[in-house]
Structures are given as C-alpha cells and as structure tokens.
C-alpha cells in the first residue's frame, strides 16, 4: 500500500525537480554570457534532456494515481500546491516530447545568432519551459497564475528578441496586452470559484458548490481568459503577429505547446473545478470553435509569409480542438458519456498531433529562414533540391497537418468526425440541426487545410527558386535535422499506432468524463465504438500502399524499362519561361480571397504592365481588427480625452473639485 504512495510522491518531486532543473539552466545561461559557443552547445542540449525527462515523468504520471505536494513558497496562507494527475501528466508528455525535438533543433538554430543576446535568450527560453511545466503542475490559483504569467512574460521577451524592428515590438506589445487582460479575467474566474475567506487551492474549489449562475460566469470568464491565450476568434489578433516575430523554435513552442496549456486550463476548470456543466456552454464553445477553425484556415490560405501562414493554421487547429471541447460538453450534459469520452479522446489526440506537426513545420521554416534569411514565400522556392533533409521532413509535417492517412493528423480528425456521426438522438432538436452543419464545417476546414499545405509546401520547397541566391542555400545542420527527425517520427508513429495512443489517453478521459471508450480494438485495427460501426487500420493501410507501389514499380521495370531522358521542361513548348512565371503565394490565395471576400479587407497594388521591375503587393487584412479592436481603441481614446479635460491646469477649478466633493459628501454621505 505504502510503496506506490511513496512512489507517487517521488514522481511529483521529480517533476518539480525538472522544473527547477530548467530554472537552473536558465540562470546558468547568464553566467555563460561570454561563451556563446559553449552556451549553444551545452545549455540547449541539456535543456532538451530535461524535456525528455519531463516527458518521462508525464508517462509515469499517466500510469500512477494522482499525487500532490505543497511547496514552502507562495503566499503566507497559500503556499504553492502541486498536483500530478492524469490530465497534467498527459500535457506534460506533450510538453516534454515536443520541447525535446524543438530544443534539439534550437541547439543548431541559435548557433547563427552567436554574439546576439544569446545568454538572455537561453535564460528566457528555459524560464518559458519551466513556466509551462509549472502551469501544468499547479494545484492552486496563485501558483497557477504565477506560472501562467511567467510563461507569458518569458515568451514576450523571446518574441521581442529582435526588438530593433518596430513591427516586432508592436507584436510583442499586442501579445502581452491580450495575455494580461486574459490573465485578469482568469483571476476573476478564480475569484468566483474560490471558497471565500481567501482559500484558493483547487481542492476547495472542487469542494465549493457554486450556483449555476456563478458557475456560468466563471466558465465564461475562463473561456475568455484561456481563449485569449489560445487565439480564439476574436481574441486571435496577437497570434499571427507574435508567432512569426519570435525565433522559429520559439514559434514552434508557442504554437505547439503554449496554446495547449490554454486548452489544459479550459479542461481543468470546466471538467475538474466546476461542480456542474451546462449544455449551452458546449454549444457556445462549439460555435466559437468552428468559427475559429474556418476563420483561421481561410486566412492561412491567403498569407504570403510562411510563418504567418503557419500561425493562422494554428488558429484553425485550436478551433478544431475547441469544437471538440464543445461537443464533449454537449455529450456530457446530454448524458452520453461514451460519446463524450470519444470526443475528448479526439481532442487530446489532436492536441498531441498538433504539437508534433506544427512544431515540425515551424522548425522547418526555421531551418529555411536560417539557410536563406527569407520569410516571404514570394522569394523562396525549389529548396527541395538544395536542402532535401529539411524538405522531406517538412513534407511529413505538411501531409500530417493536411489530415492525410496514414499520418497522425488524419486519426484525430477521423475520431472527431466519427463522433459527429454518433449524435442522432440528442434531446434538444436544435442540436440535431447544429451537428450536421458543424460536421460540414469541420470537413471544410480540413479540406482547406490541405489546400493551405499544398500552397505552403509547393511554393517554398518546390518549383524554381524565385531568387537566384536560393541555389546556394545550405542544408540544415545535424542538430536541426535531429530535431525535425524526432518530430517527424512522432507524426508517423502517432499515425500508425492509434490504438496504443488511445489506451494511454484512457486515464485522462476516465478522469474527466468518468467514462471510457466502448471499444478500442486491437493493436492493428482501431474501432473506437464497435467493429461494425467504424474501423481504421493504418498499418494495413500503409502495408497495402507499400505493396501496391512496390508491385507497380517492379512490374513497370520488369515488363518495360527504366530509361529516362533529361531535358528542359516542356511547358507546352514555351521556350523562355522563368521562375517569376510560377504561381506566387498571392496567386494561390486569390481564389480563396474571392470566395471568402466577406471576412477580409483586401489591399493590393498592381504594377503597370510596362514596368521593368514590376512589384505586386496583395494584402488581406483581418476585418476583426476593424470591427472589434479599432472601436475599442477609439472609445478609450475618447474617454481619456474627456478625462483629460478635468485636468486643465486652473487651480480655482481644482479647488472647486475639492469643494464640490466636500459638499456632496456632507449632503449625501452622512
């Protein structure tokens, strides 16, 4: 009896040790200021090891029962409480696994910026990792908020690494502002949840029964707060600015992991801390999620900056995850526990997948950036020839995020769609109306994601180099390749062994929904509900594919021949064609721009046909900025103008204020 208990305690100690380890690394980075080379070769690999360690802790946490501990720091009545249960364990695995690949890549990536503020960067980087881990471990509101803001703050400083550029400063400012407003609303949410008399541990929150009204208030506040971090439309505006601004490994971590911490928080508050769930929350979340997904993917399709494109696609994925969240809520409140379990599994699975493929894609763009110094797709192309490793590994990520079998992106979408098909018989008729539309939207988003990825990959890696300098682009170094290799392998394995993964997710699902999937199937065949209902066998699929390809190749070579002649591209006999005749990123965006013109404000300047150096600039702005944020800014400006009127320098008037206040109080306040 006692032995497992002690074991758990140790697990949590180890987790906390991992956090401290990262903190120590960050601190020690400052002392290596003088030795940038050593810094990169030593600190980052060590950090990567830490990530691996944390992932291991997470796996252990999934297997062991929940354990908690109290740290000697924090507020007097409120020391830091830590807790490691299945939910935090799963996200720890996500964090560690993704961070490992990214950090290994970083070890290579940051060599380029030796001489820069590398020491500070390394410090903030590890502080960021530690902060995210703490968010997952925290078991009281104060610890959670501290970790949450440390995460935001460190990432802010990382985003503004290159603070000489005004746009980057603006991006960082927008990011930190929205993060802070979100944090305050989280504070309010915890204020509602607290048991009163200043007890903020999650345990008392679980115990404290909240009236439905206040529960809804807390949920909405939490949705706002976490949505601001996750990039939920219309709180997403910072995301496409901040993620591209950061150094690529950072973009990878922010997109791949940090957004997930918001999902973690949402799950924690909704299913763990709140005593009840209400149906309309689910509908709201579902609607918001679908809007976000569609919005994100549409804007991803019209971007012409590769990191920006990926950032928008992150918004899309968050949208899908949120939709799954909403669906889980609906099923939960409808008393369809098994379906809730299914959607939750899809949610977690997709979160994990996104961490891998989005991390992979971002570090891929990092290597491209590193090799070419170019982010604008209009100046890239044909890199598959000069940097094959990067290209082929990125291809895995692109196919995975496009949701193509047999990679991992497909599995989670498959699970989610299955859930949609199981909906008939919900109590509210309106849900029965909503579900098909929702399913259609998800499908549409997935299809558009494929469009986006073909655009991304084709323009950046295929075709003719749009810039002669690109022919000399050098391949990524070994650390970078290793990092991408790890992440790519993750995408493949998660795609090929869904049953095992789902078994690992099982404790989390049981903890949150109190239910388990009706069936999982064997290692080969994934049958989430029942064999008759639906089945998917990626391994068989892959084998079949391989067999057919092999046979075909064999047969073609045997029966006929393998002779190949090389020549100039035919291109319908057009002789002098050059790289600028290829479709540009803008060109690829054009149809989408036409179809979904309502969402965006298009600005473009088209060159004069006789221009020798023609320049084309097409820019599709986000209308939300105009419709939501501009008015808010104007309103504040107006109000502050009015407030300024009070302060007009005349002492007599100031005396009048005091006088009036005095009289007023004498009249009314007695």
């Amino acid at each position: 009896m006692s032995s497992p208990a002690t074991l758990d305690a140790h697990v949590l100690d180890l987790a906390w040790g991992g956090v401290l380890y990262w903190l120590a690394l960050g601190a020690s980075a400052l002392f290596l200021q003088a030795r940038p080379g050593l810094l990169v070769r030593l600190i980052f690999p060590l950090g990567a090891l830490g990530a691996l360690f944390v992932a291991g802790i997470g796996v252990a946490g999934l297997l062991l029962p929940a354990s908690s501990m109290v740290l000697p720091i924090g507020l007097p009545d409120l020391p830091f409480h830590l807790r490691l249960d299945a939910l935090s364990a799963f996200f720890l695995v996500l964090l560690g696994a993704a961070a490992f690949g990214v950090t290994v890549h970083a070890a290579g990536y940051f060599r380029s910026m030796a001489g820069g503020p590398l020491a500070l960067l390394a410090m903030w980087y590890h502080l960021f990792l530690a902060g995210m881990a703490m968010v997952l471990l925290a078991d009281d509101a104060y610890a959670f908020m501290v970790a949450w803001e440390v995460m935001a703050l460190s990432s802010y400083f990382l985003v503004t690494t290159d603070h000489k550029i005004a746009e980057i400063r603006r991006a960082g400012f927008l990011y930190l502002l929205i993060a802070h407003v979100g944090a305050v609303s989280l504070l309010l949410a915890f204020g509602v949840l607290q048991g009163g008399h200043g007890d903020y541990t999650f345990d008392t929150m679980r115990a404290a029964g909240v009236a439905p009204f206040w529960a809804s208030a807390a949920f909405l506040l939490a949705l706002f707060g976490f949505g601001a971090k996750a990039g939920l439309v219309p709180l997403h505006v910072w995301l496409p600015e901040a993620h591209p601004a950061a150094p690529s490994p950072l973009s990878a971590l922010m997109s791949g992991v940090m957004l997930k911490t918001a999902i973690y928080g949402l799950l924690r508050v909704t299913f763990d801390l709140l005593p009840m769930q209400l149906g309309w929350w689910g509908t709201l979340a579902l609607a918001l999620g679908l809007v976000t997904a569609l919005y994100g993917v549409i804007f991803a399709a019209v971007q012409s900056d590769m990191k920006r494109l990926l950032a928008w696609s992150s918004i899309e994925n968050i949208g899908v995850i949120l939709a799954a969240f909403g669906l889980t809520l609906i099923f939960r409140t409808e008393g369809k526990g098994e379906l809730a379990a299914l959607t939750l599994t899809a949610l977690l699975y997709h979160a994990l997948n996104h961490a891998f493929f989005k991390g992979l894609l971002f570090v891929g763009t990092g290597s491209v950036l590193h090799a070419t110094g170019e982010r604008r797709m209009g100046h890239l192309g044909g890199l598959i020839r000069s940097m094959p490793w990067t290209a082929w590994l990125t291809l895995i990520g692109a196919l995975a995020i496009a949701g193509l079998p047999p990679l991992n992106g497909f599995v989670s979408e498959w699970l989610l769609l299955q859930a949609f098909l199981l909906t008939p018989g919900l109590a509210q008729p309106y849900l029965n109306m909503v579900i098909p539309v929702a399913a259609a939207t998800v499908a549409l988003a997935a299809a558009l994601a494929a469009y986006v990825m073909v655009k991304f990959y084709g323009v950046v890696f295929l075709g003719q180099p749009r810039d002669p300098a690109l022919r000399q682009a050098h391949e990524a170094g070994w650390p970078e390749r290793l990092g991408m290799l790890w992440l790519g392998a993750g995408c493949v394995l998660l795609g090929l062994f869904p049953t095992q993964v789902i078994q690992w997710l099982e404790p989390v699902v049981r903890m949150l929904t109190g239910q388990r999937l009706p069936g999982i199937g064997n290692w080969l065949l994934l049958t989430p509900v029942s064999a008759g209902r639906a089945s998917y066998a990626p391994l068989v699929f892959l084998a079949g594919m391989a067999v057919v390809v092999g046979l075909t190749v064999l047969w073609v070579r045997r029966v006929y021949h393998g002779r190949v002649r090389r020549s100039a591209p035919w291109d319908c006999g057009y002789p002098e064609q050059d790289a600028r005749m290829q479709d540009s990123a803008e060109g690829f965006g054009q149809p989408i721009r036409q179809i979904f013109a309502v969402f965006m404000r298009v600005e473009r300047e088209t060159p004069d046909p006789f221009d020798r150096q023609p320049r084309y600039r097409g820019d599709s702005r986000d209308k939300v900025w105009l419709l939501v944020y501009q008015p808010i800014a104007d309103a504040t400006a107006w109000l502050s103008r009015q407030a300024g009127r009070l302060q007009h320098g005349r002492i007599q008037w100031y005396l009048v204020y005091s006088f009036a206040t005095l009289i007023f109080l004498l009249v009314f306040a007695r």
């Binding site: 302060q647 320098g649 002492i651 007599q652 006088f659 004498l666």
Partner: protein, 221 residues
C-alpha cells in the same frame, strides 16, 4: 428661555462679526482692504478666545488668544502690507464670479452650514453652542473666496481666514484643543506663511506678476 449671560452675548456678537467680516472679504476687491479685514477677523477671534478663556477658566486658551493676536493681527497683516507695497500689487482685482453671485452662493452656504451644525450643537455641552454653525460657515466662505480669487495674495488670505474659522470652531465649540496641538498648529501656520512669502517672491520674480492665470501651464494637452 432666559437671556444669556453678558459675556456669552459678546461671544455670539463676535461670532456674528466674524461671519460679517467673511462676507466683507468675499466682496472686497482691493488687496489692502482684504488684509485689513483679515486683521480685524483675527482680532475678533482673539477677543472671543480670551473671553471664552476667562469665562470657562481654560487658561491655556489665553496663550492661544495671545498667539492669535500676535500672529494674525500684528505679524501677518504687517507682513502682507509690506509685501503689497513692495510688489505693488494693490489694485482692483475682479474675482472670477461677480460679487452678487458670490454673495448669493455665500448665503446658501451659510444656511447649509447652520443645518449641518444644528444636530451637533444640540448635543454640545458648551455654553457657546450656536457658534459652531458660524465656524463652519466661515470655513466654507473662506473656501469660496479662495475659489473666486485669481491672484496669489488674496488666495493666501482666504486660506488663512479659513484657519481663523477653524480656530474659532476649536475655541467656541470645544474650549480649544490641547495646548500642544494648538502650539503645533500655530507653528505650522507660521512656517506656512513664511514659506508662502518666499513663494510669492519667487513667483513674482519668475512671472513678474502674481496673477494666477500665468500658472495654468501644467495641464493635459
């Protein structure tokens, strides 16, 4: 109810006088006139303090009476006269709001003050219960005067006559604060006036005028 003892009637008379002087100050346009009125107010205050001291045997009030006399009747007026002559700022100054309106507001304030003081003076154990309302009225009127004046010195005088009101409240309503406090307050007032003197010279030499309208630069653009 029986007629009050003679000295109390005197105190009430002086109270009325204070109020009257406050009104007079409100309506006074010339700086020198203001200073004179201020001196008279001080005198009235000193006398009433002395009477209260005599009747109630609160002998420490004699000190404060003397203090008042010395400071507010002799020292400060003399100082202000010098200032005015030196800086030659003794011309007619139009207040912000015209006199009649100011008067009207003043009347309203007095009524308000009396209503305010009524419940309190009911429970007052002191002989001079009704004077508290007058004291409040004086304070408010002085406040009003500070608001309406656009020159530095009148504002200062308004400030000081406010202190007069306070003193009067202290003496008449409570037979005076503890001596230490009285002394401390007096000291503060003295230092305050001294500092003000320095100020007024600085202002004068910086803006070569004591008009407050030069001092409206610090504001929200």
């Amino acid at each position: 109810m029986m007629a009050l003892a003679f000295h109390l009637q005197v105190v009430n008379l002086l109270a009325a006088l204070l109020l009257l002087i406050s009104f007079a100050m409100l309506s006074q346009r010339r700086v020198v006139g203001l200073v004179t009125l201020f001196a008279w107010q001080g005198a009235a205050l000193a006398v009433s303090t002395a009477i209260v001291a005599g009747t109630t045997g609160q002998y420490h009030l004699y000190y404060s009476a003397a203090l008042t006399f010395g400071l507010k009747v002799i020292a400060m007026p003399w100082y202000f006269y010098r200032l005015v002559r030196k800086l030659d700022v003794n011309r007619v100054v139009e207040p912000l709001i015209n006199i009649p309106t100011t008067m009207l507001i003043g009347i309203l304030l007095v009524i308000f003050a009396f209503n305010l003081a009524l419940p309190i003076s009911e429970m007052s154990g002191t002989v001079t219960r009704s004077t508290l309302g007058i004291a409040i009225a004086c304070v408010l009127l002085a406040f009003l005067m500070m608001i309406t004046r656009t020159k530095a010195i009148p504002q200062v005088i308004g400030f000081l006559s406010m202190e007069n009101g306070l003193f009067f409240a202290a003496t008449s309503a409570t037979y005076g604060m503890p001596l230490v406090v009285e002394l401390g307050v007096a000291l503060d007032v003295l230092v305050g006036v001294f500092v003000l003197g320095i100020f007024i010279f600085q202002i004068r030499e910086t803006f070569d005028s004591l008009d407050l309208k030069h001092m409206e630069k610090l504001k929200e653009k």
